[in-house]
Symmetry: C2
Subunit: 488 residues, 2 copies
């Protein structure tokens, strides 16, 4: 029986402390693979705490892949000890895809209803309003902390004249790199030295640098599906790419695509577009893959990890990597504004010297003005406050959206999933219509939406994840602070 003492919770909240204790017991092997955990109710009763607290802790452990649940059986420890033996796990566990269970509604499907829907035709003939955009990932203007940013820009211009005109190293100005190191520590539990941080004008630009650093002769494995822009970039950089199929735990570690890749780019914290959070066992399997050869590297794109709406952010792959195999990417275009072109990568020490000697001649692509302004913005705590404010706002928009959908005529035909990890969720639609037809219908209703099928690599031959379903990708980060009325 699992028993923990709560006399010293190390400054953590109770749920975080329970999460930490169980996680440590799993990592150290005290809890073994597939061992059953006490039910939430029993655990809560035994420790004299609320069921909600246990639920939160279990939820976080589930999200990170430390435990899995089986319907009507309970919670079990994931087989992560395989990593310790440095082998790729042979039989991945099959956790219940808890939020992905579809509503049951017999043979009825949306096509008929939608085509007949009087509300649809009424809506369209009534009036015109701007298209609601669920495709774009741009941040709306009213999210940006304009007053604060202006104040800091003015302050920066006033105080740091000399510094603003001193050419920084290729990695960026030092105070910003220090600030990012602190931010990474506080927000993501990642401990890095500022010199490991390379600032650049957008993630897209940094991909170009990475290809120059790791070599054009390498094969770059990309998740399938993935953002088309990422595929475009690698194609435009004229390197060989390889689609890597995935399931609801992340990329498949036994897959040919992975074996044939030298460098892979993945988003384990929150995959776009599937929303999948890579399980901890899969994470270790991927690290195991990287460790099989000196030339293998993992690019971890952590683009919206700050906006996990429930539980603590998932630990990054970078932070559990002990072999210098992970290059961590993140951007402020997502947290601040898409028109602020500041991203960064964190190089493992194994690559830092190579970067300095091979690419140190480059000038940093972000102007000093914005680098110093952002450094102040982070160090003075504005970024943290902004993220917290935005997280609350995004949560409200998401809840409002989901409420609208669930209380509409659409409800019987849809199921919603992956709504906690970041700024989009999935809408699985039961229909005989094609995705193209669905998109057209949506556009007629003033809604621009993309489907998972838009993000598959057309050249891939393997079985694509969820490709048998009609899954709309609802990206709500572009909606304003007041959300939208879908008029469903």
């Amino acid at each position: 029986m699992l028993t923990y003492s709560f006399t010293d919770t190390e400054g953590l909240s109770l749920y975080e402390y329970i999460y930490k204790c169980i996680k440590e017991d799993i990592i150290t092997g005290k809890l073994t693979a597939n061992e059953k955990l006490p039910s939430k109710r029993v655990f809560a009763k035994n420790h004299g705490i609320s069921t909600v607290t246990v639920e939160n802790a279990y939820g976080q452990l589930m999200a990170e892949g430390y435990i899995y649940s089986e319907p009507k059986k309970g919670f079990f420890v994931s087989p992560i000890e395989n990593y310790i033996e440095d082998t790729i796990i042979k039989e991945p566990y099959k956790p219940e895809s808890s939020s992905n269970t579809r509503n049951s509604h017999g043979s009825q499907n949306i096509g008929r209803d939608w085509a007949d829907s009087s509300s649809f035709y009424n809506y369209n003939s009534d009036d015109q309003h701007p298209v609601i955009d669920f495709i774009s990932s741009k941040t709306p203007a009213d999210n940006f902390p304009f007053a604060t940013w202006s104040k800091i820009m003015r302050q920066t211009l006033g105080e740091q004249e000399e510094k603003l005109l001193s050419k920084p190293s290729a990695g960026g100005v030092w105070p910003l790199r220090e600030a990012i190191a602190r931010h990474l520590h506080d927000f993501r539990g990642i401990s890095v030295h500022p010199e490991q941080i390379i600032v650049g004008a957008g993630t897209e630009y940094l991909y170009g640098l990475i290809v120059q650093l790791l070599g054009r002769d390498k094969t770059y494995g990309l998740e399938n599906p993935c953002s088309n822009k990422i595929r475009n970039i690698y194609q435009s950089l004229d390197v060989k790419t390889m689609p890597i199929e995935m399931d609801d735990e992340g990329i498949l570690s036994e897959q040919e695509g992975l074996k044939e890749s030298d460098v892979i780019q993945i988003s384990p914290s929150h995959h776009f577009p599937t929303g999948v959070v890579t399980s901890i066992s899969r994470r270790y399997a991927i690290l195991g893959w990287a460790n099989e050869s000196d030339d293998r590297y993992i690019i971890e794109d952590d683009y919206d990890s700050e906006f996990r709406l429930q539980g603590r952010p998932i630990p990054s792959l970078f932070s559990i990597d002990t072999s210098g195999k992970v290059i961590y990417f993140n951007t402020f275009s997502k947290t601040l504004a898409s028109t602020i072109r500041i991203s960064y990568m964190v190089l493992p020490y194994s690559l830092l010297e190579r970067f300095k000697s091979a690419l140190g001649f480059y000038s940093c692509t972000v102007s000093n003005f914005e680098q110093y302004a952002l450094a102040t913005f982070i160090m003075d705590g504005y970024l943290e406050r902004h993220i917290n404010r935005m997280r609350i706002q995004y949560k409200a928009i998401r809840d409002q959206l989901i409420d609208q959908i669930k209380s509409s005529w659409l409800a019987p035909y849809i199921s919603i999933s992956q709504e906690n990890a970041g700024l989009h969720f999935l809408l699985d639609i039961d229909t005989d219509m094609t995705d193209e037809q669905l998109k057209e219908k949506a556009l007629d209703m003033g809604i621009a939406v993309s489907f998972l099928s838009d993000y598959y690599d057309k050249t891939a031959t393997g079985p694509a994840y969820l490709s048998d379903r009609h899954v709309a990708v609802i990206n709500y980060s572009g909606l304003g602070s007041s959300g939208v009325d879908l008029r469903l």
Copy 2:
């Protein structure tokens, strides 16, 4: 006999008008190749104008390669009509390298004197002061129009909140592209549509885009010598490069390096480090080379053309190209501050559609804030005023430097050349010492300086321009507004 009427000078100054008339007569063939022009004195007398005016006009025509001079014989028309026949000229004319004539000082050379120089030892033991840097091309802080820039940034932040957060197209925000088009028209006589202008975070970044646009399978010809950074960039982008030898008229159009190249990158207005201004006949020969194949293109890097210190700026290759073969590059890092990372390229229409379809998915790498601020800075006339102010300042620094050198003990051993075209000049030293020894001596005196030999492609086999001489490259753009005391 050359006779022009000055009843309508079309709003031009007299010297500009004479320059224009003679240039037109050369282009239209009224004046033929190698035809002798009247002497300055005779021309002035016949037209009842001052000799200085004629001198200015002839000087500009010389600088642009329309005419050449022969010692004690006079001025002659350059053979540019060959371009009209679309053939590469067979016998390039040999103009006198007027400013490159060395002082005569018998067998004496600098090595002995320098080593013995008591002033050198006295200087070194007396005190320490920061190294005077003639290598860096960074702009010093006190050149930057800080107050104006701050005012415009504040204004931009205050007025354009919505626009600042709207994602621009890959080419940049429209008002900046309009402003650049206007600037190019007013300053460089280049007429382009704003949509041809692609804004990016530094020229280095734009080179990467160009390679993605034109293809990695192309061979990129680079001037030899050239800036090592340019060579580093192309090497890092992993494309095949080819050194192209040059003489005092620009790259050699009959050279193997050019024939084997598909795309060449040149700075015809002012080559770094040699300071050579490509002659007009050579320009047409290069355009002729590009026209021989559909896949050939010319990247014209016009990095410091604004700072021509005498006469009007040389017309760009882009402006005389009628076949859509030239991609024009320029940067504001040179005119404003090296820490402002805003450069741009102008694509010919032949490449614009290709750019939009192949690379239009990229986000512009410059933040909107600085794009809008720069647009205002240009449109409100601040850039023009700043350039004029800087040109006066640079001229004063250059004159002060040259005076110091010419009045020092160094005078008998040196000759100065290429001092009018931009922000560096050449110091040709008569010595038995090696360039490395000279550099060490200079560093002992607190002076960091590079030599032409630092910029040669070590893999090149052809005869390198001026490689038999010891030529220091004096880059004075990094000196502050008050110049320096060389303490020679």
